[in-house]
Structure formats: structure tokens, C-alpha cells
Amino acid sequence: MRFRLRHNLALVALAAGSNASPALARADEPAPARGGASESLLRPTEPVEAAPLPQKAAVTPPRLLSDTGVSYPAEALAQGFYEATTVLLKVDVDATGAVTKVEVETPRGHGFDEAAVAAAKELKYEPAKRGDRAIASRWRHAYSFEVPLARLDGFVRTASSDRGLASVTVRLERDGEAPVLTVTDGTGHFAFGAQARGPVHLVAAVPGFDEVVVDETLIPAQETSLTIRLERAQAAAPKTAKDDSGAAFEEITVRGQRPPREVTKRTLEKRELERIPGTNGDALRAIQSLPGVARPPGLAGLLIVRGAPPNSTNVFVDGTLIPLVYHFGGLSSVVPTEMISRIDFYPGNFSARYGRVTGGIVDVGLRAPRVDKLAGMTQVDLIDARSVVEGPIADTGWSFALGARRSYVDVWLKPVLEAAGSGVSTAPVYYDWQAVVERPLPQKGRLNFAFYGSDDRLEILIKSVNGSDPSIGGGLGLHTAFWRLAATYKQSLGEKTDLSMVHAIGKNTIEFNLGDNAFQLDGMPLTNRVDLTHKISPGTTLDAGLDMLWQPYDIFVRLPPQPRPGEPADGPGLSRESRTVRTSASIYRPAAFVELSLQPATGTRIVPGIRVDYSRDTKSWDVSPRFSARHELAREHPKTIIKGGAGLFTQPPQPQETSSVFGQAGLTSNRSYGYSIGVEQDLWRPVEISLEGFYKKLDNLVVARYGNAGVGTVYGLEMLLRYKPDERFFGWLAYTLSRSAVQDRPGEPERLAQFDQTHILTALGSWRLGGGWELGGRMRVVSGSNTTPSAYGFFDGNSAVNLPAQSYPPFGERLPLFHQFDIRVDRTWTFASHKIDVYLDLQNAYNSPNSEGVSYNYNYTKRSYAGALPILPSIGARVDF
């Protein structure tokens, strides 16, 4: 590490008792300061001490011969103390010119005093003289320490490769100062040399690429090295929008990333989100290919993270909680890929900013609309059609984005259902929509309003009666919908403080009826999240905030009582007395969090935090301390990072668990003590590997009728070998080994959790073949899901159906190994003003006979595996303009 320093040397002496005027002398040879240039000054000062000298002799002050100088003390740097500081010393110089004693007159702490004393002891003088005679003297000597400068350099590369871009203008801007310009060399390297500390904006621009702005804070005495990746300008001239094979670039900006606060934060890039085979280009379905995420049952559309049940993972859109991730059947997610800028996925040990769940967190960022021109896209396939348009709103400074989607499922499913004898009022259909307006604000601020929602519905009359449960028949209706109106305000409050606020109101609707049973819910959630980040010092950041949830709701439920896990249902719905609840109530769950991000040394981050939650329905408080740490063992490529974390995570009971009709009283939150440790290692350019072990101890789990009696353990290992997107390829190999087990109450046997999957292996890759062709494949090999075996049991006379004798404990049988290969082929044509992409997404390409469950005959004496989805092609076309 190199840095520049200056030191001021004041050396003024008056012979004790002398009546001569104070002499101002300049050192003959300014001593070079350690580590950089220096200058020395002599200043007049008061006489320190009178020596017994003849009254009339002329006194010549000592002359400084050498000064090794001082460095800004490391202690001060480590403490984040960045202030110009002067230390005054009393220096005794003997008749030979040697320093015999040094005293600190004005102690400054932070290591300044020690540094000044050590430097002063090395001073060499030509001694003071009275006449011609050398004499001892005492002088006041000052060392001034100036805040060392930072250095800033880096590379500019294409977004998806390490290829450096030459002749890129890089502009360094500071608020209120004239910008400083430099240009990248042939390797893409740029350097600004020494710079004062503080926040800067780096703007990289070159024709043919979108301009990129990177915000960075320069830290004294540190060298900041950035890699800025530029994205090809959309719909640019063909010559610049194609690579040498003619394939269009599809790159996005990957900015220099700070180490995450969380132990594991997985971020997928745009190209990965759009082109993972088997997902139909759906970004949120891509999460299911990451380590730690189990394969959901077919058509279930669930997120199962580290063995936790789906309701233990929360999904946010720009910080606002949404109730539903996927549309009907999991065919697509409720937010289209084109509206998403990022997906941050935290499989565990997440920040204190998040709470109320013990599983994982998915935070989806809506993309800021384009500000340069009107643009958009339209995509149609066999499942749905969607469209997005975006651009600036005249010269108002605002920009907008509008998106919408509608499914086609009703077109083909309605005739199928009618042919099966059902009356169809509303065939399954889903919609979603998004509207975003945004404008930038001064001081890195932005104001954003987003209105988005989703709607799934069907309504049919089933004229036949289910042979195993006569309550399943007659009217079947489903309507799930939600919308959110969210306002996001982000603003810097000075150099050191950032404010982020997200306020949202919305509505959740669910209406479900089947035969005589039904539930209807209308909720109006109001969520507020305020996050204040303050840089106490360059290495220390305080993050504090509020996370509020208030939701009044009206609910009507008419259902038979539900058994707990391991307890067989007491017959089909008709054989049991339904219970009804119709009420209006509200959920009120405020929370506050504080997190401290400490960087005691370069490449090291320690983040202790704490979160306090309150649940009004259980009238209980949850205090959740958390801690995570990362340390770079090797900072330069290939980087090596070790990381770990520990924390308490709580999840309040679901309202139905505390319901006076369906639940029980006196419950408190489920708890999970989560621990993880791992390593990240760069192997070679674009390839990296990460390994992470995790362990979760669950307790206080809510079990029907048993209270908070459940305990459990989840542990495992996750591996991700990832080839980051470049101009030709992206892909990864993800493997998760895990075990998730629970015990419903003391004395009962431990059992596997419903969603436990021992082995989850996903290998995927996508190649650009040239000529606009791209070919991808995804192979998944996953342990079968758990099921509860059934056997010949009882005949329920009331409903006239056979009831199975279920094995105990539940979920004791694993279905056969799941394996499936998906293929995606894209052909892209790029024109001056638009781009056309036609694709085939083929799920289960070799028609693997996977099992999603077990089918039994009417009396459970014969069984066979129920098949999963067969080969399922989806052909689509997309136009970007």
C-alpha cells in the first residue's frame, strides 16, 4: 500500500533567557517523509526553558540536519480517524546535536503521539550555539499529520467478459467540484492517482455502449480498484451490436460490488435469468436452480429453501412483501423478467433488515425505466403473452415503464374440462401488470412509484364426485389476486448518510370454494420500511431502520378441522363437522433493526446486528441477534474469501394457528438458530466456486394442538461452481446435500420434514453458437420428494369411501430419484431498430418418467407412482424495440 503524506515540522527555539527575537529558520534540507513528499516549516514559538547561559552571548538556534518524517499512524487509520492533526513536542538537544529527550506537549491519541515521539528521537541537529560554543537546548517541535490520500484505478471491460475496452472516457466527479477525466489504455486500464477521500461518481462512457455511473467512496490510504463493465447500447447499429459471429450482445452492467452483508447472497445476472433452460425465460423460476433450493412438486409453484416449508421464505418486490410468487401451477412468476433488474436470494443467515421468517429471502428489484428513449418488448408463447414499454416522459425528468401479461391456459383447458363433463364458467386464467414511474433526485436520490399486481382465477362445476372424497365435487372456484402501490424514496443526507423509504399499500384477495367448504379473505396490507445508513467512519457503517406491517382483513373460512402432521384426517370433508369463522381483524407486526458494518482491515467485513419484532396477535416480542463476517484471504485474483454467520431467526405463528376456531391460544414465534460457514474461491477468469455448510436448530415450532412443542434440525452443504456470463457461455453446477428433520413434540419420533430432499444437483449451461443461435441445457437430478405410505385401512360409512391406514411417522417414504433434462434454443435476429428472438423451451426433453406422488386404488391395496409432467415444449417469440 502506498500513500502520500506531508508533515510539517516547526522548529523554533529561543535560548532560555535570551532577549533575542524569536528566530524563524527554515530547514536547510527538508527531510523526505516516509512514503511520500514532505515539507518542513519552522515556526516561532515561545521559549521553552531557559538554560544557564551568559546573558550577553549571541545564541544561534540549532539547525535541523535530518528528519525521517512521520507517517499517518496506522492506528488512526484503523479507527477511521481522518483529521489533520498536529502534535507539539518538547525536544531536548544536547551539545552534539543529538536528541536526548522528547515530551509530548499536546497529546492527540490515535497513535499520533507515539509516531511523533518516535520520529523526533531520530532528529539530527547541528547544535545550538552561544557564540561559537555548542550548547544544549530545549526546543518546541511540532509534527503535523495530514490525512493520506486514496488511490483509484481500475479496468473497463465488456459486461460479460474480461476483455478490456480501450479509449473509454472515465470521468471522476465530486459534488461541487470540476470533474477529472482520464482515458483507458489498450488493456482497459485507467488510473486517477492520488485523490482526496470521500464519495465520488465515476462515469464511464464510450460510443456503442451505455454509459455507466458507479458510486464509490474513497478511503484514505487505500487503493480502490474497480472493474466497470459496460453494456452494449440496445438497438445500436448492427456493427456495434453484434459480435464477430453476428450474435447480438445481451449484456448488462455489473458494477463493482461491495462484499455483501450476508453470508451468502446469490445474484443472477440478466442473461442468466432470461436463458436458463426449462424456465421459459422466467426470472423467478430461475431461483429454483440455485443451491439450497429444493425442487418443488410439479405444478406447485413453491419456493423451498434449505428444507424449510414454503411459507418460511418471504418474497419482496423492491422491499415490499408480496403474498404470491408464482401464478397458477407455477407456470410463470407474478413479475415478468423484463421488469426485473436484479434478484437477490439469501438462503439463510440473512441481514437483520429481514425478519418474520426462518427460511430464506428473495428480494426482487424492479428495473428503473429507460430515460434515453422509448423502448419495449413483446413476447408470446404457448402459455402467455406479455409486453413492456418504457421511456422518458417528455422533459419532465420522469420516466415510465408499463408491463402486462395474460395467460392462454383457458384457451386449451376449457375444452378439455368440458369434454370431461365439467361445466366451466371461468377457465383458469391469470394476469399480472406493472406500472412504474421514476425520476432521479439530487444527491444520488430517486423517487419511484410502482403499481403492480396479479390475478388468477377459475370457476368450474365438477359434475362427478371424487371417489376418495365426495366433498370434492360440485362448485370449484379459485380467485387469488393482489396489488401493491409502492412509493420508494432514496436520498443521500450528506456525505455519510443515506435514507431509503418504501411505503406500500395494497390488497390481497383469496376466494376458494370447493363443495360446501370455502374460504374468502380480503386484506389491505400497509407496509413501511425506513432504512437509514450512516457512515460513522470509512470502515464503519451503521444501518438502522424500521420494518412495519399492518394488515386489516376480513376473512370467512368454512373447513373441517385440519389434522396435525402424522395425524390421519378423520375421514373426508363430508364426514366431519365443518367449522366456520367469519371475522375482521388485523395483523400488526412492527420491527426495528440495527446493524453495524465494520471493516477493521481491507477485505474484512464484520456485521453484527439485532432485530426486534413485535406480534400483536401473540402479544410477544422477538429479539434476534445476528452476526456475519467475511474475510478476503487473497484480494487479488484469484480471490479467496472465507465467510460465516450465526443468528436467531423467528417466525410468528400464522393467524390461522392462533385463530380461536382453527388454532390454539398462547403461541409464540417459531425459532431457528442458524449457523453457516463457507469459502468462495476464484478458480480462473469467469469461473468461481463457493462452498457453504449450514446448520439450523429449530425449536418452539408450532404444532397443531401441541403448542410450541416442535423441534428440528436442518443441516447440509451447498456448492456452486459457476461460470459467469461472458460473450459465449454461462452456466453452473449446483449441488446441495441436506437433511431436514422435525420432532412434533417430546416423546414422538423424529421424522423427515415434508420438503426434505437429500441430494439436489443442477447442471446448466448456455452457449452462443454464432449466427444468432444460442443453445442451452439444464440437467437436474434430485432426490425424490417425501410421501406418507398408505395401506388398506377402514371403510367410512358416512361418506362411503375407504380411508387409508397411514404409516407413522409421516413422510417416511421417498419417491424415486427425479431426473430431467431441459433444452432451450434461441435464434436472434438483430436489426437497427429492433431485435427478434424466437425460442423453443423444451422441458423434460427425454420424457423422463418421474414421480410426483403415489396413486392408490380405491382401497389402498395397490399403488403406482403418479407421473410428473411429460415432455413439455413451449415455443415463443419476442421482439425488443
Binding site: 383458469p428 359434475k463 383469496i510 390461522q656 377402514f794
Partner: protein, 345 residues
């Protein structure tokens, strides 16, 4: 709850709408073993102290060579009232409250409380019907259930249609499995018989202080639109080989009067009963074996017949079509129609 309900609803609907996967089993409507097709109580809902008479529709259609041991319907002489959580299997535990069919307290534990392996064939009632008395405190002794549509009680009786003898089964007291079967059907050598040889069942009588409930009625059975007279056989022409997809077979409609769909004034969210018919046959195949006749909200369901088909392999065979009509409150009634598979005229 919102997220849970959202996800449950979507996942549940997906599963309901999934085409039937796997299987390839004989349908429940095909009768070729010891089967119980329905139970009928003279009082589908009873009052405390009532005597209830049950009638069981049990048939034995095992192959002739396996019928050396005739089927008998045995009734355990115990009435289990208000078991924990209303669960029938809780009657097998020592927590169950048991009385005799005449209402006398029964000493000892639950149905499975006695020592295992004891042959009780001679100790239990036999026959197609069984009467028992509802305890007088059946409603008052039931725990109050929040959200329930009024106070109620439950009395449960167990029976077994068995082509052999019955004995108590050993119970593993150390096991937490709540569904341990209390009795077994065995042959004369004490060997447990298979599922084709017995049916173990139970009946819950819901008990209310004052809640009327009647069994549904069957006015007529129609062969398409023609009334099938009492005892009259229906001749079925086999479908041509390879035409199973197009062959609709005989269209049988069960006529249940609208008056059978009783109102439930105490239940405004489901104010009327649902009624459906379940069809079984020992000679023909039954398509749409369980068809809805009356829906809670939609009312009468029109044009929803049971379709009976036969194959050329069934030519010359005769058998039975059983039609069992149920309502959603435990009411039931049934009728039978003789079938004869004949060549096309």
C-alpha cells in the same frame, strides 16, 4: 396466513385439476371381492337417548373357489361416544368412552384395550343390521367446539364384513401410531386374511338435540328416459371390440326427488344438502360411477347419467348394478338393478 392460504389454494387447485396420473387400477365400481357399498341409518342424525338402527349393504363377489368361507357382517358391541378430536381411531385408545349397544357403561379400555389374539367371533353381533342406543349425554359431554354449527355429539360403532373369524389384534402400546387396527379377520387357522376377504368399517352418528335429517329417496331408475320397473333386468349390449372410447353404453339415470335435498337453515353458508349417486356392478363397467345429483348452490344437476358398458367377454353374463344415493349429512339409500349382457338384437 395470507401467504399460506394463497399458496395452498393455488397448489390445491392445481392438484385437483391435474389429470389422473398413474393408476391403471380396477375402479372402485367393479365389485369382485368382499365389499361394503353403503350404510344406512334409520336416523342419520340422532338425538341423545335415541336408538339407531344401521343397515349395511355388504356383498361378496369373490370368485366361487374362494367362497368356502361365507362373508358375515360382525358388529363390535361397543359404542364409542365423543372420542378425542372426534377421531374414529381415538376409540382404540384408553381415552375413549365406551358403552354397550344398550347404553350400559362398559368397563375396561377402548376397543383395542384387551389382550391381542383373542378370538371374539362368538362374542359379537352378526347380521346386516345393528341397533344401538345413543348415550343420553352424547351432546352435553362433547367439548364445545368453536366455529361449529351448534352443539353436537358423535357416537361411533365399528363393524367388519369378514369371510372368516375375527379376533383382537395386538396393539403396540409403545407406538405413537394413532391408527393401529384393533381387530383382524382371520381364517380357521388364525391366519390373517387379505383385503379381498374383509372390510373393517365404522359409522358415526352425529347427535343433535333437535336437528332433523332424513335419508334421500329414489323415485325411479331410468334407462335413459324409460323407467326400469321393480325387479326388471336391464339388457346391455357389449361394445364392439376396440370401440371403448366411443361406446357410451347404457345410460342410467337415478331420479331423486327435489324434496330429498333438505334445507339446512342452521347453516347459511351451505344452506342445502349435496346429493350424489355411487354405482357399482359385478358384471359391467360403470362410467361416471359417482355422479352429482344436487349441488349445494347449483341445485339439481341435469344430464349427468351413470353409463354402464360391457365387453364381448361379458356376453351372456348376468349381474347386478347397485345404485347408492348419498346426501352430505350421512343420509343414504340404495336400489339394485339386475343386469344381463346380451348380444345385439
Amino acid at each position: 396466513m395470507i401467504r399460506t392460504l394463497f399458496r395452498s389454494a393455488v397448489a390445491g387447485a392445481a392438484l385437483i385439476l391435474l389429470p389422473s396420473c398413474g393408476g391403471g387400477f380396477d375402479p372402485a365400481s367393479k365389485i369382485q371381492s368382499v365389499r361394503v357399498l353403503g350404510l344406512r341409518a334409520d336416523k342419520p342424525y340422532a338425538k341423545p337417548g335415541d336408538t339407531v338402527t344401521l343397515e349395511v349393504l355388504a356383498v361378496d363377489r369373490r370368485p366361487e373357489e374362494k367362497r368356502q368361507r361365507p362373508m358375515t357382517v360382525f358388529w363390535l358391541p361397543l359404542v364409542c361416544t365423543n372420542p378425542p378430536n372426534d377421531a374414529y381411531y381415538a376409540c382404540f385408545t384408553r381415552a375413549a368412552k365406551l358403552t354397550s349397544p344398550t347404553g350400559e357403561p362398559t368397563p375396561g379400555a377402548g376397543a383395542g384395550g384387551a389382550d391381542g389374539a383373542a378370538d371374539i367371533t362368538a362374542l359379537v353381533a352378526k347380521g346386516q343390521s345393528f341397533s344401538y342406543k345413543i348415550p343420553g349425554d352424547a351432546v352435553s359431554s362433547h367439548v364445545k367446539v368453536p366455529g361449529a354449527n351448534g352443539d353436537y355429539g358423535i357416537s361411533i360403532v365399528f363393524y367388519m364384513a369378514c369371510a372368516g373369524r375375527i379376533r383382537l389384534a395386538s396393539r403396540d402400546e409403545a407406538s405413537a401410531n394413532p391408527q393401529q387396527v384393533p381387530i383382524q379377520c382371520v381364517d380357521d387357522d388364525g391366519q390373517a386374511l387379505g383385503a379381498d376377504d374383509y372390510v373393517l368399517g365404522f359409522w358415526r352418528t352425529f347427535v343433535y338435540d333437535d336437528r332433523p335429517n332424513a335419508n334421500p329417496l329414489i323415485d325411479n331408475v331410468l334407462l335413459k328416459t324409460d323407467v326400469i320397473g321393480p325387479g326388471a333386468a336391464v339388457a346391455i349390449t357389449p361394445c364392439a371390440d376396440g370401440s371403448s372410447g366411443q361406446c357410451k353404453g347404457a345410460e342410467v339415470n337415478v331420479v331423486v326427488p327435489a324434496s330429498s335435498q333438505e334445507d339446512k337453515p342452521y347453516d347459511p353458508d351451505a344452506p342445502r344438502e349435496r346429493i350424489w349417486v355411487a354405482a357399482f356392478s359385478d358384471v359391467a363397467s360403470v362410467g361416471g360411477a359417482q355422479q352429482l345429483l344436487y349441488d349445494t348452490k347449483a341445485g339439481a344437476i341435469r344430464d349427468n347419467p351413470v353409463r354402464v358398458t360391457a365387453t364381448s367377454g361379458d356376453l351372456g353374463k348376468s349381474g347386478t348394478l347397485w345404485l347408492v344415493v348419498h346426501d352430505s349429512r350421512g343420509g343414504a339409500t340404495w336400489t339394485t338393478v339386475p343386469l344381463l349382457v346380451t348380444a345385439a338384437p
